[in-house]
């Protein structure tokens, strides 16, 4: 009866109450930061003495913030495209291939997800210093593509495993060439996985701090590096404004994802 919602008795009230508390705990910082960004206190007093938009004006007037956001968007978009393309090819091998070492390869390609980022960060930083890629956009994109790759492979490989290969065979028997069958039948069928891969790998780069801190140069800063710098210096409300915009972006991304998933999974 412990797994019957209608038969839990008092335990249900207790569990529901606790769940509500945890949900509030999870929501608290997100809501708090948005409210804070409209508060007029420079010292982040809460509840604020008044409401204002001046932190947003300050944020949008500062080219350093805009540059950082554009840099982040550019790097994340490139890393996501690369990760999805490379991950798509790799997923076909990992799921369909019959060769020795397939499991090992799967483990290797997923390792960047479990290895502590700081280890990879100093390793790639040292490596890029030596080959002259440190502080370059290409270096950033390469490093972030590595980190994003597992987040692209996992949803695509999962979708591909759930896709019945006889459907592809059926297309080929119908007269489609193997390439045509993949492009016209298999890819559209696993599009939810590909779409998730794109979102996850974009976020993996967009939110990445540790590698970025090492790779950044005075002329090349991503948004997280800029926020990191501000946090270490002072707790300016401008960071709250930037953070609120990021929360807004997350919400927008979630809504788009939900809508697209609904449309795609007809």
């Amino acid at each position: 009866m412990l797994l019957d919602y209608d038969r839990l008795g008092w335990l249900r009230a207790a569990l529901a109450g606790f769940t509500a508390l945890v949900a509030a705990f999870l929501l608290l910082p997100v809501v708090f930061i948005v409210l804070l960004s409209f508060g007029s206190s420079r010292w982040l007093a809460f509840p604020p003495p008044g409401w204002t938009l001046k932190w947003y004006q300050e944020l949008l007037a500062d080219p350093a913030w805009i540059d950082a956001a554009l840099t982040s968007a550019k790097i994340a978009a490139m890393a996501a495209i690369l990760a999805v393309l490379i991950g798509l090819l790799a997923s076909f091998s990992l799921v369909r291939g019959e060769f020795r070492g397939r499991q090992f390869l799967r483990g290797l390609l997923l390792t960047p997800m479990v290895l502590p980022v700081v280890v990879f960060a100093i390793a790639i930083y040292a490596f890029f210093l030596r080959i002259g890629l440190a502080g370059t956009t290409i270096g950033f994109v390469i490093a972030h593509t590595i980190l994003a790759l597992p987040f692209a492979i996992v949803p695509i490989a999962t979708a591909l495993e759930g896709f019945d290969k006889s459907i592809e065979d059926a297309a080929i028997v119908c007269g489609a060439s193997p390439l045509q069958a993949r492009l016209r039948i298999t890819l559209p069928s696993i599009r939810i996985g590909i779409f998730s891969a794109a979102i996850f790998s974009f976020l993996a780069s967009w939110d990445e701090v540790v590698v970025a801190i090492f790779m950044a140069s005075p002329t090349l800063q991503t948004l997280p590096v800029k926020i990191w710098g501000s946090l270490r210096a002072d707790l300016s409300p401008v960071v709250a404004a930037a953070s609120s915009l990021l929360v807004g972006l997350t919400l927008a991304l979630m809504i788009v994802t939900a809508l697209l998933r609904r449309r795609l999974s007809r």
Binding site: A16, F46, G97, F99, V114
Partner: protein
């Protein structure tokens, strides 16, 4: 089904179906394996060949304290995360989907929100004059502000916050996979709710708890951002120490040795976890 393939022929002598993995293999090999191996080599060659970096690492009270502190924080975070996540996952596994989707939405929103944003919020919330201290004082619970930041408390709150989704989501899967019939049967057999929990529900969800807990522990061990911002100077964690050693002290040898220790511990635990749940389930849980 019988194994058959319509895409016959392999790419230039490569084993069947492996060609597609080539770009990924080159990328990961060149820009992941090579740099990491080079870094590890550096721990025994920089500034001169030998094990002096490891001797320095394990010989110094400061560094040993960092190791112990890292394990302590990771362990505390893991235990608290499990205790908080289990009831939530339990509720989510059985509650009506309409209501549950709101909670799932909140979990996803929290998980997808920029890491620095969340940590920044906690920095402001937990500071001496922050909302939480002021609220507690206003309610008369405390007279003096509690030290909630730049110490173990701050790190634990911030880390548990970040780890909760990683524990709740897989655990919901584990709990949903348990047939409610088994618990009905337990009740008919005469088990009280407590007995049914201890003897049926908990053992059946243990694999999920163990797998999720191990993942949280491994992630916590190498975490950098949150401890650096919410922790104090007296309880530096390993990742932060590695970054500082390399970035501020420019002591690459020592930093590499510490990185190797972190990597070795992580990989051993990762291997244990793979053995426990299998690569597919692990990947599917994310």
């Amino acid at each position: 089904m019988q194994a058959h393939s319509l895409s016959r022929g392999s790419v230039a002598g490569l084993p069947a179906g492996s060609g597609g993995a080539l770009p990924a293999l080159v990328l990961v090999g060149l820009f992941f394996v090579v740099p990491v191996v080079a870094l590890l080599l550096r721990s025994v060659t920089d500034p001169e060949p030998g094990l002096q970096n490891y001797a320095a690492l394990f010989g110094s009270g400061t560094y040993v304290r960092v190791f112990l502190n890292t394990f302590l924080v990771a362990a505390v975070v893991t235990v608290v995360t499990i205790l908080v996540a289990f009831p939530v996952a339990w509720m989510l596994a059985i509650m009506p989907p309409a209501l549950g989707s709101i909670v799932f939405g909140i979990i996803i929103l929290s998980m997808w929100t920029n890491l620095l944003t969340r940590t920044y919020a906690w920095m402001v919330l937990l500071q001496r004059t922050g909302v939480i201290n002021r609220a507690l004082m206003g309610l008369g619970v405390i007279d003096e502000p509690l030290p909630l930041i730049n110490n173990l408390t701050g790190v634990t709150i911030g880390m548990v916050y970040i780890m909760l989704p990683f524990m709740i989501l897989p655990l919901v899967g584990t709990l949903r996979a348990i047939d409610p019939m088994t618990l009905r049967a337990a009740a008919l057999c005469g088990a009280s709710p407590l007995q049914a929990f201890r003897r049926i529900l908990l053992p059946l969800s243990l694999p999920g708890i163990a797998a999720g807990g191990l993942m949280v522990f491994v992630m916590s061990l190498g975490y950098f951002v949150t401890p650096a911002l919410l922790g104090g100077t007296s309880n530096t964690m390993l990742a932060e120490m590695i970054a500082q050693t390399v970035q501020s002290l420019l002591n690459w040898g020592l930093g590499s040795a510490a990185a190797f220790v972190l990597l070795a511990v992580t990989m051993v635990l990762y291997a244990i976890q793979l053995r426990m749940v299998g690569a597919r389930r692990l990947a599917g849980g994310l």
